[in-house]
Amino acid sequence: MIDVKLESVSKRFTRSGEAAAVDDVTLTIAAGEFFTLLGPSGCGKTTTLRMVAGFYFPTAGHIHFGEQDVTRLAPNKRDTGMVFQNYALFPHMSVAQNVAYGLKVRKVSRADTARRVAQALTEVHLDGYGTRRIDELSGGQQQRVALARALVIRPRTLLLDEPLSNLDAKLREETRTEIRRIQRESGTTSLYVTHDQAEAMAMSDRIAVMRSGQVQQIGTPREVYHEPANAFVARFIGRSNVLSLPVTSAEATRVGVALPGGGRVTATAPDGHGLGEGDTALVAARPEHVVLVSPEEPDAIRGTVTGVEFTGMATHVTVDIGAGADGDVTVAAVDVPDRVDVGDRVGLRLPAERLWVVRP
């Protein structure tokens, strides 16, 4: 097992001063870790992955596999196993031939190859599929062949480029559990790219949230969810209400803000963010932490219900709290009284212990 280090890696595709596709990314993937690059399309996550695979060389910066500098190493010398978004299975080869390809390149003996291919196919629950043609397989089966092909060579790192995006929702959830199980068993250092935050949260040891080529935050799923570094991360991970509120008092790690309803509340600001009285703070509150109360309750934020959405586990109620706030507030309540309906006046309460001040 090795770790993977990216040091100030940048990638520009055009020489003239256009924005970099990847801009000064530094991160370390610990040995055996399942690390995810998460971000909207065009944020540079796939470009970063492709630099680790060796399909692009960085314009600046270095990439290390353990002690080895692989920045400019050819892709076929890197010993990475990659699962492509569209699987990239060789259409003119059978399932077994696909899986055996990397072993043949590595001059593994025929007997060993056969044994390891069979083992890899068993591992992904495809025993007996070896002689099938690729176009005879379903999407989910192709996905597993791709995974087997990448893992059978016992790569130094496993690279996965949105491998689940071509599967339907149910299969996606099953497959992500499978991928994680197989990765844990093999202990391969893995880099996973996705735009699906739920997938990232469910699978990863750590996540790097990216935007416009830059890393916004690196942390465990819990950290990026509960302690977002900035408004972008707060909004991108799950649903989040981000309110711009005037600062009334400021301490080292806590900031007092005034609420639209006239109340005051103290929110956590990990390093103060340099905010002082009179500034405006961005306060993030998760829907499940906002409490729906009677509009008569003192100091409640009052507003009008503009949407009620039943999702099964909870009901999302969207409330327009008027000017001075950053749009609507969504409340995810487990028990919503049946009588709450669009157009009703309601009150909202924000629990101080769950409020988190974010950078813009």
Partner: protein, 583 residues
């Protein structure tokens, strides 16, 4: 008064109801298809059978046994034709695939220059194309004579004649089949498949051997079949380079010697071989191909890093562009040369505008131009009506025998021009039902009919390609909004097909104006088309005048190519679809 006004709308409603119901009724396709089948039967299939009947009319099967005896012209011709075709496949394959890889996979100075001209030699009409290569590379050609003068030798240097000359023409005019097929395959297949191989540790050579070549195979096999068929049908190249013992030349020689049964025998054999190849090709293309879609990451061209290569690339590109443009340039140069002024010099010694004045002002010289335009317009009109309807029927209607209709059109495409001519001679030297009881041979009408048969597949292909881009639900949407079948068909489907149909019609028209192969077997002195006039002028050493006619054809072709390229998306797809099948 009231009674009349109330019955008219109801009668109209009745008709509308019938038409609407009719369009979706099970019998409707057959009503549309029946006349189309009749046309294909009457002018494509039935003449072919007539040729077969003609070939056994005098001596039974004796003509055919000639192909089996060990010596003799028949057997030699068949073998020569097959050998030339096989060699053409090899040469075109090497040139075409190399060009595709060079241009699609590498980035170097001058790449765009080559790409701009790469299809020029193949775009020339068959006769004028072959003549230009003769004027360039044969014993009397510019290059061998130029080298002779340069090196001071007694004989022209590097002169191609005979089979070698034929192969030069074939290579230059047919390598685009490989080039286009290989570049489409390279552009179509998913770069991540290649990346997956690199990722698994394969080096460049191994990726070539185990991934790229196997995945190109379907495209290469199709291109091989196409080149083989086209070479087999090739007639002008053997004619100009004096290779008498090929199938097409034997058809021509036997016909001009008046031995129609023997000419028919050759035509029947060549026709059967061509149709066999057509069926082989259809069978092969029905199998899987490896095109797939992928997300944004596209294959990037590799920069040539080697300093010598970098320096050499622009020089080689300019040279290649010169070679590609040389045939057209030669025709243009010769078109301005005075007739009889070019004997042993490297290039003609005297220049004049007279050739163009002659062909436009002298009534006898202008007549072929008029003939060609008239006959091509007539043939094109027929091709458009029949071609569009067949395309619609084959793509959109469900009926028994649909693929037979498709095959019927494609047979017209697969048959060499010489065979089409012999078929029409066999069928219409006396009157029959399809010629309304008139003998057509020796009349004006036989030529437009031959053009119609030969170029119907072009319009069909172009229409079919643009129809493939039109979502059938558009027509359904129109009908859902209340349009009748006819209205939906005309206002939506035909309107959207229009660019494709126009491209197909223009192609049919220029091919008609350039047609030589069938014309030369069936023209009369009053219906001489341009290409035959060119051929006759060449024989009487009026090379300048011949080239001037040729320039007209060339200019017309480039105008049409330019115009088709400018038509919006549908037109471009259609011209690709049609050109793929041009020979």
């Amino acid at each position: 008064m009231t009674a009349v006004s109330s019955t008219v709308p109801s009668r109209r409603g009745e008709w509308a109801r019938r038409l609407r119901g009719g369009a979706s009724a099970a019998w409707f396709p057959y009503l549309l298809v029946a006349p189309l089948v009749l046309i294909l039967w009457g002018y494509v299939v039935q003449p072919m059978l007539a040729t077969f009947a003609e070939s056994v009319s005098d001596d039974g099967t004796a003509n055919y046994t000639q192909f089996l005896t060990s010596s003799g012209v028949a057997r030699t011709s068949l073998i020569t034709s097959l050998v030339i075709s096989a060699a053409s496949v090899l040469l075109c394959g090497v040139v075409g695939v190399a060009m595709a890889f060079l241009l699609k996979r590498f980035s170097f100075a001058g790449r765009r220059l080559i790409e701009a001209f790469i299809l020029v030699p193949a775009a020339l009409p068959p006769l004028i194309g072959a003549i230009s290569f003769q004027l360039l590379y044969s014993e009397i050609g510019i290059l061998p004579r130029g080298l002779q003068q340069l090196l001071g030798t007694a004989q022209p240097v590097l002169a191609f004649d005979g089979i070698a000359g034929v192969l030069v023409v074939h290579t230059f005019t047919m390598y685009p089949f490989f080039y286009l097929a290989a570049s489409a395959a390279l552009a179509g297949f998913d770069p991540s498949i290649e990346e997956a191989a690199y990722n698994l540790g394969a080096g460049r050579i191994r990726v070539w051997r185990t991934v790229l070549l196997p995945m190109l195979t379907p495209a290469l096999v199709s291109a091989s079949l196409l080149v083989f068929m086209t070479s087999l049908a090739s007639y002008t190249a053997p004619l100009l380079f004096g290779v008498d013992q090929t199938m097409t030349m034997q058809i021509y020689i036997n016909r001009t010697n008046g031995d129609l049964p023997m000419a028919s025998t050759y035509a029947a054999v060549l026709g059967l071989v061509s149709i066999a190849f057509l069926l082989l090709m259809r069978w092969y293309e029905g199998r899987r191909s490896y095109l797939s879609q992928s997300k944004g990451v596209s294959a990037q061209r590799r920069e040539i890093a080697n300093p010598i290569g970098r320096w050499l690339a622009p020089v080689a590109s300019v040279l290649a562009a010169l070679v590609l443009l040389a045939p057209v340039a030669t025709i243009a140069l010769v078109a301005f040369s005075a007739d009889g002024s070019w004997t042993t010099e490297v290039i003609p010694s005297a220049y004049t505008m007279d050739n163009f004045v002659t062909i436009f002002s002298e009534p006898r010289a202008f007549e072929p131009i008029l003939n060609s335009l008239k006959m091509s317009v007539l043939a094109t009109a027929g091709c458009v009506v029949v071609g569009v309807l067949i395309a619609y029927a084959v793509r959109r209607l469900k009926f028994v025998g649909r693929s037979l209709l498709d095959v019927g059109v494609m047979i017209a495409w697969a048959l060499p021009g010489t065979v089409v001519a012999i078929n029409l001679i066999s069928a219409f030297s006396t009157g029959n039902g399809f010629s309304f009881g008139q003998a057509l041979i020796g009349t004006f009408w036989i030529l437009p009919l031959a053009y119609f048969v030969r170029f119907l597949p072009l319009v069909f292909r172009a229409s079919s390609a643009s129809l493939a881009l039109i979502d059938p639900s558009l027509e359904e949407a129109a009908r859902n909004l209340g349009a009748s079948w006819w209205r939906a068909f005309l206002s939506i489907t035909v309107r959207l097909m229009l660019p494709g149909v126009i491209v197909g019609a223009l192609l049919a028209f220029v091919h008609g104006v350039g047609e030589f192969v069938a014309s030369v077997l069936i023209y009369t002195s009053s219906t001489t088309p341009i290409s035959v006039a060119i051929n006759n002028r060449m024989y009487s050493f009026e090379i300048g005048t011949a080239a001037a006619y040729g320039m007209l054809q060339v200019v017309l072709i480039f105008v049409v190519m330019w115009f088709s390229g400018r038509l919006e998306g549908g037109g471009r797809a259609a011209s690709r679809g049609a050109e793929q099948w041009t020979n």
